[in-house]
Point group: D2
Chain length 293, copies 4
């Protein structure tokens, strides 16, 4: 990546995708940043800041050395690649495609197989972190797949993340993301049930958070989500329905591998209750609502 600047693409401009694309744009590292979103209006802010609007995933890929994508679910990730005017129609030898969506491994493997069958290079790179880390370029990027592409993409990773790792062959990133998000989902329920029980038990929730904050349980998760539960501030940093999806995928992975996960399974059911009560588009902290009768 020394010498000439390359052009990069970004497909999928949701909350986090837009923030990542903006960080690439602001970096000045690239000759151009081409963007695309299914609803083109979501691209307007970036375009006003200098991004170039592509007409389709294929259009973006055709103009870029490396194209990043961050889509909301496996179906969307597949559609962008295999759909009409999708990535597949423009990917070719030398070009790189980096999917930062959180998808199940099977989806990742299908995309891997398709991209490489056209001579392209593929890297999966799901991220850990939510809205604010995305904006601040402080995501954790869990890459797996083509190592040469990983090396070439590192300058871009430095603008989007605070830490990036290469975990192995395609699939390892997807699996790592699920494992960590599963742990997060269970821990969030640990916090949520503690908040609910303390309230019933006549304790001050702030005292509970103070005690946790000076002991073994102190973590950014507790520090951020505890106050959110207290104030019912559920503005979505990471939408609950996506967390529930990750729990489901992690449990499916456990099922496939013969690993019993009873505590995560119970946590998943609480996310489902919260979702059924209409909190799916709110922040994961809204799982607290599932503790109420």
């Amino acid at each position: 990546m020394s010498g000439e600047k390359i052009s990069v693409g970004f497909l999928g401009l949701g909350i986090m995708g837009e923030a990542c694309a903006r960080n690439l744009l602001k970096s000045g590292l690239f000759s151009a940043v081409h963007v695309w979103n299914r609803s083109p209006d979501k691209a307007s802010a970036l375009v006003s800041e200098g991004a170039l609007l592509g007409s389709s995933p294929a259009d973006v890929v055709s103009k870029c050395s490396i194209t990043f994508a961050m889509l909301g679910d496996p179906d969307a990730a597949l559609q962008v690649v295999f759909g009409e005017n999708g990535v597949l129609q423009a990917i070719s030898a030398g070009k790189g495609y980096i999917d930062m969506s959180t998808v199940d491994e099977q989806t990742s493997q299908r995309i891997h197989a398709a991209i490489t069958s056209k001579g392209g290079r593929f890297l999966e790179a799901p991220v850990s972190g939510s809205k604010k880390p995305a904006i601040d370029g402080q995501l954790i990027i869990l890459a797996a797949g083509d190592e040469s592409l990983y090396k070439e993409a590192e300058p871009a990773f430095t603008k989007m993340g605070k830490k990036w790792m290469h975990l192995g062959e395609t699939g390892a990133g997807a699996r790592m993301k699920l494992v960590v998000n599963m742990a997060m989902g269970t821990m969030l329920n640990a916090l949520s049930e503690a908040m609910a029980l303390s309230d019933k038990a006549g304790l001050k929730q702030q005292d509970v958070l103070d005690v946790m904050g000076i002991g073994a349980l102190a973590s950014p998760l507790v520090a951020m989500k505890g106050p959110a539960m207290m104030s019912k501030n559920y503005a979505p940093a990471f939408p609950l329905k996506h967390q529930q999806k990750d729990m489901r995928l992690a449990l499916a992975l456990g099922d496939q591998l013969g690993q019993s996960l009873p505590v995560a399974a119970a946590a998943n059911e609480q996310f489902k209750v919260a979702r059924a009560r209409g909190h799916g588009d709110e922040d994961i902290a809204a799982v607290y609502e599932a503790t109420k009768p």
Copy 2:
């Protein structure tokens, strides 16, 4: 507590009790430190360091202004107070009794009622933390009950803890302890299941801990117990059977208060599996063993 030094007592010299008593002894703040343990041989190290061995709880209380206790379970806590030559037989107006054991609220209230009926002052003060924080005088002390006694005991708390709080009337400390330990038990299972799933999924467990360590889940718990699970180093900082007892008591509190706690209930069952497999006397990290077939 200004002016003259007072003498203090310590009942119960298990792993943590002994460490606390030693910190009081080493502080030089007290004219004498009287100790007692059901098996007197456990007191010999402290006695060789300058502590005075009491013949019974009543004997210790009779010689001290303030007596601390740290017993293994509610039955032991009750026995020390109500049993033959127990605390009750020597407590009197002006004397203070501070029970640092983790007990259910009912037990705490029974002790409170008995002590105050004799004119004594009572403070419950369960602690958060395990062997090493106890040794280092870095416990978190969750006090509730008589406020004048709390004030007088603060110099002692500075030697045993890094943080002490007065949470309200008798019972609040017991409840806070249970709430926080319940959260810890669930979070530990979150970590344990993540470690198990990652191993099955072909990921390096160290990578999982690295990813957690730089993200929202980073906590002393993850930092300490993750490596313990990897290396199966289950030397007891906090014995698993005591953690399981706290889960049971927290669930009983939820039951009494009408609070459903399905994730903690699932976590409790995993601690029970680990206990049934013979890990009750090992560290709480051994709950990882329950993830194995």
Copy 3:
């Protein structure tokens, strides 16, 4: 019990107690049936039918060869024995006391010890069945304890139950009751979740019950509680809060014996949700309400 008729007593005239006492009264087997209830007005119907109202548990016991009791919970069972003018003050050599309440084993053992210390004979005899079987004299009686008393009480059992068994020493009846009620609670949740899922899945709930009714799952429980869930007919045959109490006691027994019971633990949490939503005094079928968001 041949030859002369004896007089019998009955303490506790809730829904089921009253039905049992009436069956004893109607049998004509006894020279008199003495009854007592904490709220004496509940005894008025029986008295109008020929029962004699005692002024206290002790009063009843003093007048009877065998006294039966059916109380709502362990506290009530203890109070009737150990309280003022309780059973203990009148029990004596030769007299029999048969506690048909569902209590934990510890409670049963305490009563056993107290009764026998006065020379009395004790039998625990918790029952399986609810309002209608009680009325119809079709309960299942799970006795344990004094075998001579069991033999003498058999004529009474024939009027209250369709089946009676002697299971061993005191405590075995309490344990059997808990084991079977725990299974019932889990099975009821199996039905409840099936009803909820089928409704969401566009199936007719009646079709689901028809399919169950002709297959391996066909049981009186499904036949009775399925339609109750469909019609939200929650008139209490067995109050949900008592079922939840039994789940709690069964889980506590498992905890004590080191037996992990994860499915019953999850079922218990659903009963707690239903209780917290105000269905505690309704029938156990109301656990179906816990499946709703």
Copy 4:
């Protein structure tokens, strides 16, 4: 189906498929019974009894008016239809295809769409029951889809089942099967945990089964599987791994429809433990093994 006899086909000769095909063969209702299995040696017994061995699914379909199939999982069900020389290559206007496999609805819908696109008629007809009912022609057949095909297949259903129902459009049969099997899986765990707890509690397991057998819980499931657990007789009537698959699919259905199913989720984890301990090919009663440490 009046007048002339028709020929029928049967694809998939596992334990249950073979039994069903044999019942069709023995009935004498059909001019011929064509069979096919991936491993042709499994067809030899039937062939010796008069069945005709087809070379492929397409070969069987080409020779039959109605073809039945009973495959082990969704992948196998799809492979038989869409694979090389599969059903699709021979199905045509007027011909009927009846899939009796237990598959998820999506699979059923894909097969439905493919069959009807070729002019064929499709009926899904998953069954409830295991080895012995299959042999005895006592299955419960839950059909959904083409009603004319249902009518024509009824004579065949009379030979394989004791009860058959038409539940609605394609997908309803799959969903009903999952709902009922999910309930069965949870109920089996209720029994399993009761057996485990009673054993620990010093009760005779036979007494527990006797008590259940005369009360609200009496069911063929308890009557069959309770003794199997006692004697560890796990000869597969219904393999545990298939039950676990159904639990997984039912939970996935609940997830999709926003229905929380915490008790079934806990039950599923126990089936996973049993599977991981090597009991996947044994009978569902082997879930009892998961209750052991």
